[in-house]
Symmetry: C2
């Protein structure tokens, strides 16, 4: 049932005539200054005397004048808008990224035009639209199709950066954690805790983040002369992660430690292990994720995870994109950032190597 | 450590001259049609013959022409952008709303300019910016300051709708669930399950959603001749929700059923009850939330909750705003939508009243 309550009578209908917007000429007239002075007052960094500025602002307030950002964008050839394309928000890592990115861009005078692509395979309509809005730059996060979309942006001469996925060969500017190292550290941790049978619930094949983490696992096991890891694909979604977990457990000599390609899958696996299978994570089985989502720290999860340094990554992302926008170039950097293995209760703890940080987190570092 | 990998040498620097954008005149010339035909081809709903459209699109592709949305916006006096202001994304309900709203707006030809306000008390810079971009409409969600911001938008003749919070007196258009009824149904449920000592962890005082839910609780207890509920404020954030839970438990004759003003707080309370206090939710204590966030359904939570019909609410929100935009009016509807009490394991179950839905959910309806 939908109930609609109309309130027309409760409020005065606004007078149509009053809806006409004041022009800068009217502001200039009332303030007794030139139109150029009005324009300069509303341009960041433009020179205008304090007295003129005060007169203009008073007149603008009186007339409810607001400079038209769209018109100004056309004149400056800047929209001050960055498009952010993201596949899903159900992985809690991405809302955290959006929050911080929004704050960073806002501090730089930019706004975020948000595209949630729902994992669509056909990006062309999104791309077309994104380019039509003449956004100054594009950020692509968590999208299986990021690379192709990024290449289209470069062809269209729009600065673009990829977040949390990279393609070294195509040299698209990007910000990622050192995922090879992350996979290696997580594996060293499990080996130090006595695990020898390690399983990996992979993300989407061909996506650098999951592939690099897996390569780090494989290299580390091989370096220790241990048998290779078992694997099953969870494709970053919960139903497939849970059936991957079943597949791993159904095999011969099933793994007693399961590394998930991200926290989103690890949290689901952890819950099923505890509630449905009656296992005690950290004792009967070790479960580790990657990302460091906030909810993983809550007492019901207490998830051991390789945390990505989200603030550092967002800073590198914003700063990298701004450099490209300022130089009107599509050539940028591929930034790789270090993370930390955050020790909690979902995986068995090694005897040593723990370091207590100022922020209260306990992290683990392999002997080097 | 931040490692920067430059890849300048790996890619050809784009030729500056090639960055000049093709004009509609050039497209018209190549296609052998008028400029007006080019314009009509790129205008939704404008009349143009299939053959002309094909010629224009071929020429546009060849020249990499894209209509300038900003310029078109100025001409049409439409930006095709809706601003969405939201306080936080850590309450998982809001990423779910954003995903669905993004899909809805995209289907209507609109894009979402996202403002995350981080609960700022001073909205003036956000408001100024939002109005400068000449957005066609504004959606305000989950913000303690929504009402004031909404009133400023109305003053500036910008269509605005509030989501999940309402102010009947000010007659700002809004979409909310019937929160008074929601509070009542949840209380009837607990009474039917045998509870008599009910506690409420409230949201932010003065915010309609939490206040209405609480009024529903109070009225229902009074109607049954039961003692009033205990209350403590959790203000929609986890640390305060947990200390509110402590406050409720520390009192004389503590409640054996705790209603939280949203799932975000209920999930935290549920975890602390189970893991830290060793209570068995659904047996030793009943915990209920409001909203119906997806993670509440996972086996580690199994949260009984009054679910808001998110698809219906987003549909009402989008459609309501479009009606205002189309009529260039700030007068709209206050829409109130019904929800459902979703039965799971975190609260004791009454003997009867359960209905199994087609989508597999078990819901509870009070006898009427």
């Amino acid at each position: 049932m939908v109930e609609r309550r109309m309130n027309k009578a409760e409020r005065d209908a606004p007078d149509r005539a009053s809806m006409r917007r004041a022009t800068s000429a009217e502001v200039a007239h009332l303030a007794g200054v030139s139109r150029s002075a009005v324009s300069r007052t509303f341009t960041l960094g433009a020179s205008v005397s304090p007295e003129t500025r005060r007169k203009v602002l008073d007149a603008a307030t009186a007339l409810r004048y607001r400079p038209n950002q769209l018109a100004r964008s056309l004149i400056m050839n800047r929209s001050l808008i960055v498009a952010v394309a993201i596949s899903y928000l159900d992985n809690h890592y991405y809302p955290q990224v959006l929050e911080r990115l929004s704050a960073w861009l806002s501090g730089a005078g930019y706004r975020m035009l948000l595209f949630i692509t729902h994992g669509e395979q056909h990006f062309d309509p999104v791309l077309e639209e994104l380019l039509r809005y003449r956004v100054d730059g594009v950020i692509l996060a968590s999208s299986a199709q990021s690379l192709r979309l990024a290449q289209e942006c470069v062809k269209a001469h729009v600065p673009v950066m990829m977040f949390n996925t990279a393609d070294r060969a195509a040299a698209i500017p990007s910000v990622i954690a050192d995922n090879l190292k992350a996979g290696s550290v997580v594996t060293e941790y499990l080996i130090a805790a006595g695990h020898r049978r390690i399983g990996y619930i992979a993300g989407i094949a061909g996506e650098s983040t999951s592939d690099d983490r897996e390569a780090g696992i494989a290299q580390t096991l091989s370096r220790h002369g241990l048998p290779p890891h078992r694997r099953a694909a969870g494709n970053f979604n919960i139903p497939e992660a849970l059936s991957a977990f079943e597949t791993l457990r159904a095999g011969d000599d099933p793994p007693d430690a399961v590394i998930c390609a991200n926290d989103h899958m690890a949290l689901a696996v952890l819950q099923v292990a505890r509630v449905r299978l009656g296992l005690r994570p950290g004792q009967d089985i070790s479960i580790i994720g990657f990302d460091g989502v906030e909810i993983g720290a809550s007492p019901g999860f207490d998830l051991t995870t390789y945390a990505q340094p989200i603030d550092l990554m967002v800073e590198a992302l914003g700063a990298g994109l701004m450099r490209m926008i300022d130089s009107r170039s599509t050539i940028g950097e591929q930034v790789v950032v270090d993370g930390d293995l955050v020790v909690r209760a979902s995986a068995r703890r090694p005897a040593s190597g723990m370091v207590l940080m100022d922020d209260g987190r306990e992290i683990w570092r392999p002997k080097t």
